[in-house]
Each structure stands twice: as C-alpha cells, then as structure tokens.
C-alpha cells in the first residue's frame, strides 16, 4: 500500500479550479453573508499561496489587496474614474488600487 503523491500539474489544475469556484461562491453570497464571502477569499488566497498558483486578474480585483475583504459594490468600496484610471477605494481600510480603464488582457 504505497502513498501516492499527486502530479504537480494535477495539483495546479485543481488549485486553479478551486480558487475559481471559491471566488465565484464569494460573489454569490457577498450581499447576504459578507463574513462568509471573506472567508472564501481567505481560503482561495491560502490555496494560491501554498500551491503557488496565481489568481486571475479579473478575480484578483474583486477583493481588497490590503485587508482582503470581498468588494460589495456600493457597500464597502468606492469606484471612481480619474484621468483614465479606475480608482478603487476600500472603505474599510482605505487602501486604493488603480487600474487603466481599458484593458486588453485575454479572458
């Protein structure tokens, strides 16, 4: 009875799927249960860090980079456009992120 270690490619694949699942579920419950959606962000970040898998850019922007709370539009985030850049301000911790308005990343 040998203990089998999973192949690295399979680990990365499952990690990516799980991160996507968790953040999608965080979005679904962010208005009804914000604490739970923050918990999903926490788990997704842990998976990403432990298995060295990057969170995709369009998911990365859904939570604060500083306090890691999930952004609920209109509730804990302020989104403004200034000089061709989107400025996202987390109302909870005050951290600001800026992105160019037009992004040509492949989805």
């Amino acid at each position: 009875m040998a203990k089998r270690k999973p192949r690295r490619s399979e680990v990365k694949k499952i990690a990516k799927e799980r991160i996507g699942l968790l953040l999608r579920m965080a979005e679904e419950c962010c208005r009804t249960d914000p604490a739970l959606s923050n918990r999903y962000v926490e788990i997704a970040r842990r998976i990403s860090m432990r298995h060295r898998v990057r969170i995709n850019w369009y998911l990365r922007r859904r939570f604060c980079r500083h306090c890691h709370h999930f952004f609920v539009q209109g509730v804990n985030v302020r989104v403004r456009i200034h000089r061709g850049r989107v400025v996202v301000t987390c109302r909870r911790c005050g951290h600001q992120s800026r992105y160019p308005v037009v992004m040509s990343h492949p989805r």
Binding site: M1, A2, R4, K5, E17, R18, M25, I43, I47, H51
Partner: protein
C-alpha cells in the same frame, strides 16, 4: 471538474451532502449544503440551521455537480482545506 477520482482533493464547499453514517447518532441524516470547512469539521447549512459535523467519525454522501453521488469516508478528508489539494492518498489494494 470534480470527479469521483479527485473528490478527496477538490473543493467540498458548495456541494450537497448527506451524512450517511456517523458515530454520533444525532449527526446521521444531516442533509444540506456545505458552506465551510476546517481541518476537522464540515459546516453544513440545513433546513434546521447550521450544523458542524466532524469529518473523522462520519461518512458523507456527496452529490457532485454532474449529478453523480459518491460516498466518502470522512476520516480520509481530515486535513486543512488548502492542504488537501496535494495530499498523499494511500492506494488500497
């Protein structure tokens, strides 16, 4: 995709579950949606409220997104959710 082959490593949160057998009789028959997971416990939201069920002493019947049902011995799942991805699985002969 969650398959019976990788269920031990994949995400349990969001799956429908029934506690088929448990050493604590109060836990058997608990049915609902898994909303959280820790090293030893599954948090299940049922119609009677939120229940915390230990993994080690229970057998779970999970319904996968593609509608297949699989029974999993909870003691094989005892691990932090992020660590479970690269767990070593004993191959049973």
């Amino acid at each position: 995709m969650i398959t019976p082959r990788n269920i031990l490593r994949h995400e349990l949160i969001g799956l429908d579950v029934l506690v088929a057998r448990a050493s604590n009789p109060d836990h058997t028959g608990v049915r609902g949606l898994i909303v959280d997971e820790t090293r030893n416990m599954l948090t299940i939201r049922t119609s009677q409220g939120v229940k915390h069920i230990p993994k080690k002493y229970s057998v779970f019947r999970l319904q996968l997104p593609d509608a297949t049902t699989i029974e999993v011995d909870g003691s094989a799942l005892v691990m932090q959710p992020d660590k479970r991805i690269s767990m070593r699985i004993k191959k049973e002969r």
